[in-house]
């Protein structure tokens, strides 16, 4: 009963936060002269007005889902990996390298699968640098992962303008990846690719692992109270390392799937979904299935926002504003319920 209550209150907070933010934004836009009904219908048309548009939204949700899971998995274990941004880029650049200059001969699907796994490993390796720094030099992960993001951006920039640079252009960009290294597209007229489907499967798998397995249980106990976990004989350090590797691997896979599925190349200033993943994780209340819903919603928010700009001339930055407000609202909502939960205890003592 109490579990059910806790779960439903989480959903209530998310729904309440979303409604409040939408209301505030609609009022703001109304003051600027945009009728709320027009804004809502235009947004919806942009996000899901046709199968193609819905597919574009789902395509956009793919990387958000993976980086959201990457953040959530780490946060659930109390490992503050803020480095999905960098891990995403390292995974992406690994994929592009094997899709352009380091082409391996062989059956396409096999090589593609191997390179995808390799990219995930490269993202994991990048994340484990932070764990190493913490283990041997006492650098807090929350700091090192952020700083490694900047290094990753510089590394990618260097590779894109150096060994991976497209010789046919002077723009800072890589060449287009070879056709056999691109993920198959599921819906024509979009780039909704196989990787997004894999991401959804990973979300469900992760949920099952956290819920049903010993390792999943240990990860959560370590996150709630590492001292208690240690006293219970759980391998705290090993779980933290594992979680960091999985988190980095998910972000690396997100980057690889995004370039192999959508862009087919990397530019000098690549769009990354790393930081947005933290928002997705918060909005999904760190629950894999919640994150699945949150990623879909933010994907629709993003494509809908670009539809708003296309039709009404409202800058699509609005989407980012709404996303930021949503996370704030969810955190505030969560804070309020947490304080409510504590109050009776405080009075009884």
């Amino acid at each position: 009963m109490s579990r059910w209550l806790a779960a439903s209150s989480g959903i209530l907070i998310a729904v309440g936060a979303i409604s409040a933010v939408i209301l505030v934004v609609l009022i703001g836009l109304a003051l600027l002269g945009h009728a709320p009904t027009t804004v809502l219908t235009t947004w919806f048309h942009g996000a899901a007005g046709s199968w193609t548009r819905l597919a574009l939204s789902v395509q956009e949700a793919g990387p958000l889902l993976l980086t959201g899971l990457a953040a959530a998995v780490a946060f659930r274990c109390g490992v503050w990996n803020i480095g999905a941004e960098g891990q995403f880029l390292i995974g992406a650049v690994t994929m592009v390298a094997f899709g352009t200059v380091l082409l391996i001969p062989g059956p396409g699907w096999l090589i593609l699968s191997i390179v995808l796994i390799l990219s995930a490993f490269s993202g994991a390796a990048w994340a484990l640098l932070a764990t190493g720094l913490e283990r041997w030099r006492g650098v807090p992960v929350v700091l090192s992962t952020i700083l490694l993001n900047f290094i990753a951006v510089a590394v990618v920039g260097m590779l894109v303008q150096g060994p991976l640079h497209d010789p046919t252009t002077t723009a800072p960009q890589t060449a287009l990846m070879a056709e056999q290294m691109r993920l198959p597209v599921l819906v024509e007229g979009t780039r909704l690719h196989l990787g997004v489907l894999l991401a959804a499967i990973i979300a469900v798998a992760l949920w099952l692992v956290l819920k049903r397995t010993t390792i999943g249980f240990e990860v959560q106990v370590v996150g709630l109270n590492p001292d208690a976990a240690r006293l219970m004989g759980m391998p705290v350090g090993a779980r933290q390392v594992l979680v960091m590797a999985v988190s980095g691997g998910l972000a690396g896979f997100a980057g690889a799937a995004h370039v192999a599925g959508v862009t087919g190349m990397l530019s000098g200033s690549p769009v990354s979904y790393g930081y947005a993943g933290i928002a997705v994780a918060m909005l999904g209340r760190l629950h894999p299935l919640g994150i699945l819903v949150a990623a879909l919603f933010l994907g629709m928010l993003s494509t809908g926002a670009s539809g708003l700009e296309r039709r009404l001339g409202i800058p699509h930055d609005l989407g980012d504003v709404v996303q930021g407000l949503l996370v704030l609202a969810v955190l505030v909502g969560g804070g309020i319920t947490a304080r409510r939960a504590l109050r009776p205890q405080a009075e009884s003592t």
């Binding site: 548009r53 252009t169 960009q173 530019s267 296309r310 930055d317």
Partner: protein, 322 residues
């Protein structure tokens, strides 16, 4: 004859078919006072003249361009102009799978299915260089660009060649800062002035505000030794920050280019390839500041600019490549 035919086609289309739907994808903000604002104004001109339906997307990154183009295709747009050379690769990929017409501006290479619009401002920059070479007291000029990309480097080369043509000992300091950070371009311009540079040419779009502010502040502090600046891409001669110290602007007549592309879509003559806009075609020209003509811009300078223009158009004067 062709013109009448074209007008007739347009006339028919205006009454029989649905309005032409044109999308414009900009890499930055359309209030940048340069490249993107120019595109917005040009597309609005086209909207008025062709009674087209127009939609603008701002601040689109290279990675997102493909998706935005696909969304426009899904919305049934006839033509999308992707305004930035970084959009060429994603545009070429989208063009392969749609009947929507795509033009990419700022690029100079052909891609299947794409019209690329190349703007060569180096000749107009040469004409500005002629003015700078004549007017500089210190013999030191400055050039600040948003990024060392080919189109910007071409402006620098033209400016340098023009200045050297009238005064061979002139030096041009070059620096590249940012497209949208006025603070950086302002600092750079101030540094130029501190080095004794008395004329600055820029190609930094939204960051041009910083350049103009540096000029304004410098002239307020030291009115005895005035410094001057040139505008780029858009006609910035009337810029309110320092309108009396902008000598001239190298201007792209984007509306003419955009109209031609839109008309080719209406007339069904849209054909992939590179459209080269330059001084010869009258689309990339130097525009002198009318307030300064007759005072600082003497008849001799005007004659020099015109002479250089004629030689550039005739091909007897060629700006050296990289």
């Amino acid at each position: 004859m062709l013109r009448t035919f074209l007008l007739l086609t347009l006339f028919c289309c205006a009454y029989t078919a649905e309005p032409l739907k044109i999308g414009l994808i900009c890499s930055g903000s359309v209030t940048d006072g340069g490249w993107n604002q120019l595109a917005k104004e040009a597309i609005e001109q086209v909207k008025k003249e062709l009674k087209a339906e127009v939609s603008i997307l701002q601040k689109v990154t290279q990675d997102k361009a493909g998706d935005e183009l696909r969304a426009y295709a899904a919305d049934g747009y006839d033509l999308v102009i992707a305004h930035g050379y970084e959009f060429l690769t994603p545009a070429a990929e989208v063009a392969a799978g749609t009947t929507m017409k795509i033009a990419v501006s700022g690029a100079d290479v052909a891609r299947p299915g794409i019209v690329t619009l190349d703007f060569d401002v180096s000749q107009a920059s040469y004409q500005l260089g002629v003015i700078a070479g004549t007017l500089t007291k210190s013999g030191k000029l400055g050039f600040v660009g948003g990024a060392p990309i080919p189109s910007v480097k071409a402006c620098y080369r033209g400016f340098l060649a023009g200045a050297r043509a009238v005064r061979p000992d002139v030096s041009v300091a070059e620096a590249y800062t940012s497209w949208d950070e006025p603070v950086k371009s302002k600092q750079q311009t101030e540094a130029f002035f501190a080095q004794g540079i008395d004329l600055v040419y820029h190609d930094v779009d939204a960051a041009s505000r910083g350049v103009f502010e540096a000029v304004k502040e410098r002239n307020a502090r030291n009115p005895a030794k005035p410094v001057y600046v040139f505008g780029c891409v858009a006609d910035q001669n009337a810029n309110p920050i320092c309108p009396d110290h902008i000598l001239a602007s190298a201007v792209i007549r984007l509306d003419a280019t955009f109209r031609a592309v839109a008309e080719s879509v209406v007339a069904k003559t849209f054909a992939a390839g590179v459209v080269r806009e330059n001084l010869q075609r009258g689309t990339c020209v130097a525009v002198l500041n009318p307030r300064l003509i007759g005072t600082i811009l003497t008849p001799e300078i005007l004659a020099g600019v015109e002479r250089a223009g004629k030689q550039l158009v005739a091909g007897s004067l060629i700006i050296p490549g990289e």
